[in-house]
Symmetry: C2
């Protein structure tokens, strides 16, 4: 069975990176399709692991060469999905997990209607703001900007297939694992299986 395409989005501070780190410790049937960006790496971020960090020139060259599946500009930087990142996983029969922001997710939905979109929510606005402050990596100005951004992003949540509240990390990770597992069992993805039961398998 071919791997599926999952898109994970969440406002900054909702813990999507932590959830994905834990997820990949618990499953080897899915892989992370590393995004490309022109924003500066944060402390600890590794090129090719967290993002492919590119210059604007490099990014624009890849767009021109059609190596970028979708991209958007967000807070002054490019963010995009490299076609190769997805193809490499799918070709290994692994699910490809994309971590992208809301507009990119909507582009993926248009291009791949069979993609499964998951939105991570904070338990509340209050908790989200607290988490952003506790991170300690952002200026107050950036925190205000990101909180405002979160309120815009959450409007897109209703277009996603699944909503996961990241209250307790373990439960959010298990929620996401359940989504990955269940989504493969959906009838709409199982034509081949039913056909294997021959004439009797189709009405």
């Amino acid at each position: 069975m071919k791997g599926l395409l999952f898109v994970i989005s969440a406002p900054a501070g909702c813990g999507k990176d932590t959830i994905l780190n834990e997820l990949f410790k618990k499953t080897d049937t899915a892989g992370y399709a590393v995004s490309a960006t022109t924003r500066a790496p944060r402390e600890g971020e590794v090129n090719g692991v967290h993002y492919h960090f590119l210059t604007r020139e490099e990014f624009e060259h890849k767009i021109a060469e059609k190596e970028v599946l979708e991209y958007t500009e967000y807070c002054g930087s490019y963010y995009g999905t490299l076609r190769k990142s997805v193809d490499d996983l799918i070709n290994q029969s692994k699910d490809a997990i994309l971590k992208i922001e809301v507009e990119g997710a909507m582009n993926i939905r248009r291009m791949f209607p069979e993609a499964c979109l998951v939105f991570i929510l904070p338990p509340s606005w209050e908790v989200l703001e607290k988490r952003l402050r506790d991170r300690g990596t952002e200026t107050e100005e950036k925190i205000v900007e990101r909180t405002k951004q979160a309120r815009t992003e959450i409007k897109y949540a209703e277009n996603y297939d699944y909503l996961i509240v990241n209250d307790k990390l373990d439960e959010a990770v298990d929620d996401l694992l359940a989504v990955l597992r269940a989504e493969k069992l959906r009838r709409s993805r199982s034509d081949e299986l039913l056909n294997s039961f021959g004439e009797g398998g189709k009405a």
Copy 2:
């Protein structure tokens, strides 16, 4: 959050009883909505646990009193869902698991479009026949009848939401657990959650 309604169907010999037994050892958020039937109990079957075993007269009385949510006649016996079995679980905020055959499942879908339907498949026709014979509780005539019945039932599988192949029991149980968990996270069931984010939660 209110419990959801799950319908599990499978041809005889696909192991749905074993799967459900194991399921209820692993979760306490779901309960079994015991069906009613007029067929004779098999060895080991307990009234009120495996089925509510009723006489034809009792069953028909309950139909007349509108205490039966749906029912059908199958291999010469009535099988049906008692309204009380479902209501008791939902009122405790538990998911109600119904084990019913295909026509009953289609009736539930019509009455409760939000119900989630799961069909259990054997790994192959050959394995199914072997399992029926190994059971040792059925006459050869019954085995032929049930195999023929299975080929009819599987035609309904395409109307279900999820398909689970019972090849390895543990994996089939974990598949079903994943379906129960993921289904609660579906966007279409989460209006209340999004509303809790206030104006910002709705586009």
